[in-house]
Symmetry: C2
Subunit: 369 residues, 2 copies
């Protein structure tokens, strides 16, 4: 394994570990995306979304684009949450102007029986991208690897595409919970292997996106989402190729009501969407000085980025202040990683992102003074 | 005003008032809908959704259809949540296979300046339907009137149609909160006048559907949704044409995180979606014996109706048991009205609804024995 360059900006990793930082680090979900003209140019060269994601050079190029524009504190692997079921043989495609779609949906006992943890060699393009990006970053900021959660993957696998009512996947969940548990167990083991391979390839933190956990009923969330997130976490490597601890982040969109039940998760960071009050979340799961607790990540509404810079600064301050001053001592305590509460919109004006980044750094420094 | 027939089944109204009932009353959001073949037949006769909603005879016919099939404990006016902005002149249409759409969207200062509380005469067809339905019910069960919440109406008025990111309405909210507040104040006064006219026409309870309150950020929900729901409630008549108290129900989909902030609302019932644990909600806002508190309504996942009858019964029991045994004394205490956590899906097999209704009545009687 090649030695990677030493890390210059460790604010993100420190905040993940609930250690003090001079300002609140930030990155943006989907920061390498269609709102950037340079991303659209690279995607045009690649021909398609999967052409972009499977080409190491292109994936590296687009991952670094937002960092060249903005002083962000972390990079995130450019990829898709559905690469794992694609490697299971379901045939992922992205039709122009539509979301992802699988050629084969998993809807009955026979289809479930065929599922297995895919050969990680089929996902080599992802691990190659991780190593390539980490080298290209050259120590500027840490690189986050990621995967969809077992439940979120199952939603797409059963529905065959995005859904607004989750009728098919929930029909299976309520009618044949045994089948749903089989899918989720395979997904969990596949996600764990996938994230471990990303860690081996150079990822310095890993995040599980439970994008659709929030559509589940109370009770079903615990049994069909949280339980399998735990199963992933239990299998994850604790240190990366350079021997450093690899923080694990879990983000359940719409999961604010279950925060207390997520507190015992074996991970370092909980991501939150904009419906959650950060102060309340800090009180619930943020922990005390030198006690256990989770770092919190989030949670401004991405639509704030459609307001003028002055209003963006106001809303940024509101979010930072709702968390309050992060821990400033030499041990561990409550910390905050600024992010959006969901992926950035493709319609976002890039200059407004600059205003947001500036406001976060400025106001969070002021909080500490 | 014609005298209406005396009410035979008052379980719903009693439960709204936190009084004991021999079983947990139930009705289903969107119970008169496309899952019923007889509804589709009437709609075909009417030619269009608005043709159905604006024709008193048809609206009466479809409102009663689910009651003829199932022993439900309340009827709800057949109408749409967008009749009020339609009466403001925005031109509501329903394209085949799509959701509602307005000919005119409200997106700038000039459009907001033109808005006003509509002449309630333009909504006469709704009030006529209320009276007609109440007569046709002939005292079988009480009739619920309803409206969209000020915020939910504003979402459609600004977006012009349904949205999956609420980008336009939130752009206005964050960029021009002054304009958003103007729209919401007008909407609140219009909704209040609209619900009062429904009460005068014979509605025995009224419900405010804040279907999109849950898409707002913490802070924004309180300022842009809850505040205007309060403004509606403050203007509502307290008694109906027969001198009886008219309970007021408020349902914010995705609002489970703000339940504590909704507890002081001047209404009798809070509706909950399936993400909320009913036991936790009861402890938070359900009140104690003879003390203040809210009746709770909800909250089974409508997708449970795609499971076989045995699983439906299991899930029904789970929801009823999560609330626990309702108050059984002679004063007031915590009560539960069974419902879905959202409107019933058009794909629901009608026989599964029968299984659900039977399970609710059976299990809730057993809870009390």
């Amino acid at each position: 394994m090649t030695a990677f360059a030493p890390l210059q900006n460790d604010t993100f990793l420190r905040a993940c570990m609930r250690q003090a930082t001079p300002y609140t680090p930030l990155w943006l979900m989907r920061q390498a995306g269609r709102y950037l003209p340079e991303y659209c140019a690279t995607r045009a060269k690649a021909g398609s979304f999967m052409g972009l994601a499977t080409n190491t050079d292109y994936a590296t190029e687009v991952t670094l684009q937002p960092l060249d524009r903005y002083p962000l504190d972390a990079a995130i692997l450019f990829s898709d949450i559905l690469t794992v079921p694609d490697a299971m043989g379901l045939g992922l495609t992205f039709a122009q102007g539509e979301g992802p779609r699988f050629a084969t949906a998993v809807r009955d006992e026979a289809a479930v029986a065929k599922l297995e943890v895919p050969d990680m060699d089929k996902l080599r393009y992802v691990f190659d991208a991780v190593t390539s990006i980490r080298k290209a970053l050259n120590g500027r900021v840490p690189l986050i690897g990621f995967s969809g959660s077992p439940w979120t993957l199952a939603c797409y696998m059963v529905e065959g595409k995005g859904s607004d009512d989750y009728r098919l996947v929930k029909s299976m969940l309520y009618s044949r919970p045994d089948l749903m548990h089989k899918i989720l167990a395979i997904n969990a083991d596949a996600v764990a292997a996938y994230l471990n391979a990303q860690i081996d390839a150079g990822a310095q933190a890993v995040m599980i996106f439970d994008s659709w956990g929030g559509v589940l009923a109370d009770g079903a969330f615990q049994n069909f989402s949280l339980e399998y997130t735990k199963r992933v976490l239990a299998q994850l490597k604790r240190t990366g190729v350079d021997g450093k601890v690899v923080p694990r982040l879990v983000f359940t969109k719409g999961g604010g009501l279950w925060l207390k039940e997520m507190a015992p998760l074996d991970c370092e960071v909980l991501g939150l969407d904009w419906t959650v009050n950060l102060g309340a979340a800090r009180a619930l799961v943020g922990g005390a000085e030198n006690g256990p607790g989770k770092a919190l990540q989030g949670n401004i509404d991405p639509n704030v980025l459609f307001a003028p810079p002055a209003q963006i600064a106001t809303e940024v301050a509101r979010v930072l202040d709702s968390f309050g001053t992060p821990y400033q001592g030499t041990g561990t305590g409550p910390t905050h990683i600024f992010n959006l509460g969901h992926g950035i919109s493709q319609y976002t004006p890039p200059e407004n992102v600059a205003a947001l980044v500036e406001a976060v750094h400025k106001h969070s420094k002021a909080q500490r003074s």
